[in-house]
Symmetry: C2
Subunit: 360 residues, 2 copies
């Protein structure tokens, strides 16, 4: 059996540590694992399958002899190091937004567009957390009835902003409970001028603003959904309208999804339930009589996407509502990344083509 050397770039972060766990549980035969991070985190000792692994500072040479790279160290690190890794023969699965809209880079959610993996030139992009769980939920409906329009409002957990953001949310909550003023240094966006508390509050800004008044997170949901479901980031066939809001939850994004299908002939709420129930990577949690519906505290630690509150809109035939919850650090990031790597291995696609990404 072929075995692979796997490097995890950003191994000490909220997503990186989960990539290690997901890799441990994956079907990928791992020969050796290399844990890479910034010089600040170098020397830290983490575990892989019970063995100590010392974190190394990332250099281009770190990728010599590496077969698969799983990256989640921020867009700048991916832009700097992934072409270096590919040049050295590694295939990279990138969890940052650095390459998602690059026409030469497949953007993949295995349950939705697994076939796109085969087109890779060394880099495969993992979509944004909020996009992934939505397209997983809509995929079985899209397959049987088509989609005309999606209107989504997100309820996104603080951990999407990383490990230090989780601590900030906890600190703010404790300050509030102590009757002290809350202090904020990270939310809504660390690099921006103003910071606001998230604890017991709502922040309708995730990522920076676009010129049209949408946030970049909302822009991502619109264009990533089109690229994943239709193959083209600007395809007008499915209209997507997104509003992204950060909520004081640690782990687990919620999404209120309204959608209209192209052909409602054979669809109703019960049929949508059946499609979700048998959909890939989906768990149906939809029983009002038992007060059963998806909740972040139940989704935490799991790689499935949970769907409930399925309703027909009585005033708009062909329109439905869903409530979708997933662990944003797992299905929204680490788990999806490792699943892509599993598919690479399964289809023997762990090799860069002659016209690899960034070849001069």
């Amino acid at each position: 059996m072929k075995e692979y050397n796997v490097a995890i770039l950003g191994a000490t972060g909220a997503v990186g540590t989960r990539m290690i766990q997901q890799l441990e549980q994956s079907s990928i035969p791992v020969k050796q694992v290399k844990l890479l991070a910034s010089p600040r985190s170098a020397g830290k000792v983490l575990q892989f399958k019970g063995q100590d692994v010392t974190v190394e500072a990332t250099t281009p040479e770190s990728f010599d002899d590496v077969d698969i790279v799983l990256a989640s160290a921020g867009g700048a690190a991916s832009k700097q190091f992934l072409p270096e890794a590919v040049k050295r023969g590694a295939v990279a699965v990138d969890n940052t937004s650095a390459f998602r809209m690059d026409p030469e880079v497949p953007l993949v959610v295995p349950e939705v567009n697994e076939d796109a993996i085969a087109q890779h030139k060394g880099i495969i992009a993992n979509p944004n957390c909020s996009t992934i769980q939505m397209v997983v939920a809509l995929k079985p409906i899209f397959d049987v009835a088509g989609l005309k329009q999606i209107i989504v409002s997100t309820y996104q957990a603080g951990s999407g902003a990383g490990q230090t953001a989780i601590q900030e949310l906890d600190d703010e909550a404790q300050q509030h409970l102590n009757g002290e003023p809350m202090t904020a240094d990270i939310f809504p966006v660390k690099s921006e001028a103003h910071h606001y508390p998230l604890a017991f509050n709502l922040l309708p800004q995730i990522d920076v603003f676009e010129p049209d008044g949408s946030t970049h997170e909302e822009w991502k949901m619109v264009h990533e959904t089109k690229k994943i479901m239709l193959g083209d980031m600007n395809d007008p066939k499915i209209k997507v309208n997104a509003t992204c809001v950060r909520v004081p939850v640690v782990i687990g994004h919620g999404e209120s999804v309204y959608f209209e299908v192209e052909d409602n002939t054979n669809l109703d709420a019960h049929k949508v339930q059946e499609l979700i129930k048998h959909g890939n990577g989906l768990v149906l949690e939809d029983d009002p009589a038992e007060q059963l519906y998806p909740q972040p505290i139940n989704a935490e630690g799991h790689t499935d996407t949970y769907v409930g509150r399925i309703r027909e809109d009585p005033e708009n035939p062909g329109a439905y509502n869903l409530w979708v919850v997933a662990d944003n650090l797992l299905k929204g990031a680490a788990a999806n990344t490792v699943e892509i790597a599993e598919k690479l291995v399964e289809h023997d696609l762990v090799r860069v083509p002659a016209d690899y990404y960034g070849k001069e």
Copy 2:
């Protein structure tokens, strides 16, 4: 100058205590205030304009000589006592859902349908908190461009479930921060079989479920909006689709509102901003460059409705997004109730007609 005896039913609750404050600050000339509650709360001493007032247990005779009743002691108490108050010549403004859909009872948000007050037969209903802030925000747009469709997802604060619910949310947050399991006895709905923690979680259930899979809170948003804006709870002219979610915020509901206008000829995002800026009871907070947008922690304690994140949908001409925040206990409840009472006084409508509500 005419002076009025005012009774507050449910005076010790989260809304009732705010009704006292709002009444203190109102233009209503108050001769005497009577604070009514359940026998359990009787004897408690509260203050009105610096004077001690002892809370009394409510009986039908409590309303002898009362001119105006402000009620927020639950639907059962309103059903039991408000007809008794009206029979004794008092006009009641009711914050519960008991009479909202009664065709003989006006459902009023002064900024939207003040004229409906004149049709009262002794009882005027105050809408649900989540409905009020949405219709206040949409009113100036409705007036100039009409509305075809509203799709709203709410982010509702825990205080909507009352004073004990606020304590439960705080307790759960502290348990979570201490690393202890969270205990839940109130959320999502006290009378229901199952209770789930709200702290660091999301609960897509507010109020009980309807047979069609929507919650009663969602049903209220649909039908109250139609009754307030169109005069008929079932008018199909404006389609309304609502998803209501409880979030771990203490005070201040957020709403992600998507709407389509009837006539987009003279409208764009900038014009919507101008309409909001000059709308009644509205504050425009919409400057992405300055990261200015409505947040619950800023709305708390204020009676205005805050609107921002105004965007045109580039794929749906005539469709817009708004983010709306208001203090659910003030504009969503106590302040709107007292504003209705102010209008009653202003227009000399504090008297019950011969065919008063409930006359046998």
